[in-house]
């Protein structure tokens, strides 16, 4: 059993969304959709829910054809049994919190429906607000009600468009865990749009990178984060160091590259053509004092600190070592190594942390 998607949705002003992928429906699974603003994530979810009609292609859910342009088939949203959370999480303004959550449970018996609603109210910390109208809720409360409303009827496919965007850290973690649990208990499948890296890493086993209406990469979140397939993906997943490089020496399993005025060693094969991008996550750059010798397993680059920017509990350190390199270190390290602009420092990067991306 698989969800097979192969569609093209034309956008009125040029471009369009082109999506081709399939998701197994046999085991509980969360697929995360990740991509810049305007890349077509919401459009894709709306196509799957049956609210937008693709121009070409087909959507199959197991044995059921949901959409087929060539046969002129399009199952109405009611019959797709999906749960959809819109990005702007609209609630029915004339219904209370309780009534909103119970909306999709009309066919359930009364007791079960009430039990379910009760459960969601507790799980999403909405107690005491069950008889309020949406106008009297805060943004985050509204979003949780909308999410509960989408989950309560136990749809087979869950489509969540930025389900945690209005939630604070703690509530977000809690709600995220509930969604995760729900997917496993119900053995459901969920497609979740998110901007949040932590969401993307902790929520799903599968990540789809979408940009300008095209799927750029698909795979395990960790793989994509450390080994983006293209410079574009590297930028999208937030790789801080993406540097144009020139291969100057390629042995069996070592590649030496010229980056700016410096050199970097990577393991693996040299990319064809000699020119490529070097992708290094800032967390993988370690800073040390002193000027130790070069070794084959590690790059040791000496440079001067240009900037120290606190980012949450960590500090982003920008170093000029022939090219501009960004490292992300703890504040403790900053103190211990007395990192400050102008100071000389050695940046250590394991050769295996250097990922090479061929230029297209």
């Amino acid at each position: 059993m698989e969800l097979n998607v192969d569609l093209h949705y034309p956008l009125p002003k040029g471009g369009g969304l082109q999506a081709q992928f399939s998701v197994s429906l046999d085991s509980p699974r969360i697929v995360v959709l990740f991509g810049p603003s305007g890349s077509g994530k919401s459009t894709l979810l709306h196509c799957l829910a049956g609210l937008l009609q693709p121009g070409r292609g087909e959507i199959r859910h197991g044995d059921t054809i949901w959409f087929d342009a060539s046969q002129g088939i399009s199952l109405p949203p009611q019959r797709r049994s999906v749960g959809l959370l819109f990005q702007d999480y609209p609630l029915f303004p004339h219904l209370t919190v309780q009534e909103n959550i119970a909306y999709g449970l009309r066919r359930w018996n009364r007791a079960e429906s009430e039990r379910s609603v009760r459960g969601w109210i507790d799980r999403f910390q909405l107690g005491g607000k069950e008889n309020r109208f949406p106008a009297a809720l805060s943004g985050g409360e509204q979003q949780r009600v909308a999410l509960a409303r989408a989950l309560a009827p136990k749809p087979r496919l869950l489509l969540l468009d930025e389900p945690f965007s209005a939630l604070d850290l703690r509530t977000r973690a809690l709600v995220r865990a509930e969604v995760r649990r729900w997917v496993e208990e119900e053995r459901a499948t969920a497609l979740v749009v998110t901007h949040d890296i932590v969401d993307a890493m902790t929520l799903g086993e599968d990540l789809i990178i979408l940009s300008e209406g095209v799927i750029l990469q698909r795979g395990r979140p960790l793989d994509i984060f450390s080994r983006p397939a293209s410079p574009e993906v590297a930028k999208i997943v937030g790789v801080e160091n993406l540097l144009p490089a020139q291969v100057i020496l390629a042995s069996e399993e070592r590649v030496v590259l010229e980056v700016g005025k410096g050199r970097i060693i990577a393991v693996g094969e040299a990319p064809p053509g000699g020119r490529c991008f070097v992708s290094i996550r800032a967390e993988e750059v370690i800073l040390e004092r002193g000027r130790p010798a070069q070794s084959s397993a590690r790059n040791r680059l000496v440079g001067f600190i240009q900037e120290c920017i606190p980012v949450g509990a960590q500090v982003r350190v920008v170093i000029d070592c022939g090219f501009s390199l960004t490292a992300l270190v703890t504040r403790q390290a900053v103190e211990e190594l007395s990192l400050r602009p102008g100071a000389e420092i050695t940046a250590v990067i394991k050769a295996s942390s250097v990922h090479l991306i061929p230029t297209e």
Partner: protein, 226 residues
């Protein structure tokens, strides 16, 4: 005060406006959701009584339902009576005459409901029809009230059609409008004045209560302004 005429008018207006809700709600809904390319023709037909003087309507009714016409003869063979000069005749005329006054505000209200809410309901498994009942209809409450009030009013104020096809029969087709007109034409100013004053006070009282209640209710449901 001619209680019979007052009662008749209220009866006619009530029947008409209630029937028009039943007729107008599905019609307006269809007009809002349909994607049929010739829909605008139907819309035009529904809107026709808007620009047609009531006397045109009265004329057609008289011609169509007189004994000499096939339709009139057919109706008579079934109902045992001709349509003009009966309450039924007035009802038919009123419904035609007030149709757009019900459909127009309904269609405006239905079209004004946020499509996201409608889609949310679809995705939650509710059919178009049940979505209409559970979401569109309750959210169009003020439009429905407007439709009801305007069609009630328009019927109550109906005069031309009643004059043409009513025949001024006490208790059957002599509505308050006609009765008052007769009183004035007969120069019974004193009696006409009494009737008018009574109606004025009654109406004012009734409307004050309705608008006052309406405000109360809104206050209770909407919560504070945020």
């Amino acid at each position: 005060m001619n209680w019979e005429a007052l009662w008749l008018s209220i009866e006619l207006a009530s029947f008409t406006s209630v029937l028009l809700l039943f007729l107008g709600i599905p019609l307006a809904h269809w007009i809002v959701i349909s994607r049929w390319r010739w829909k605008f023709l139907v819309e035009a037909v529904v809107a026709l009584p808007i620009v047609l003087p009531p006397t045109v309507l009265g004329f057609y009714l008289l011609m169509a339902f007189g004994q000499n016409s096939p339709l009139g003869a057919f109706y008579e063979s079934i109902a045992g009576t001709t349509l003009p000069f009966t309450f039924g005749g007035l009802l038919v005329a009123s419904i035609l005459y007030s149709l757009p006054f019900a459909v127009q505000p309904l269609a405006t209200a239905f079209a004004g409901v946020n499509p996201r809410l409608v889609q949310s309901s679809w995705v939650l498994g509710e059919s178009r029809w049940r979505t209409f009942l559970r979401i569109v209809l309750p959210l169009s409450k003020s439009g429905i009230i407007t439709a009801f009030v305007l069609s009630f009013a328009h019927t109550l104020g109906e005069f031309g059609v009643v004059l043409m096809v009513g025949g001024n029969i006490p208790g059957v087709t002599r509505t308050l409008s006609i009765d008052l007109y007769d009183q004035v034409q007969a120069l019974n100013y004193r009696s006409a004045g009494k009737t008018a004053l009574f109606l004025l006070i009654l109406s004012f009282f009734f409307l004050s209560i309705v608008t006052y209640m309406n405000r109360k209710r809104q206050g209770a449901e909407g919560g504070t302004e945020r």
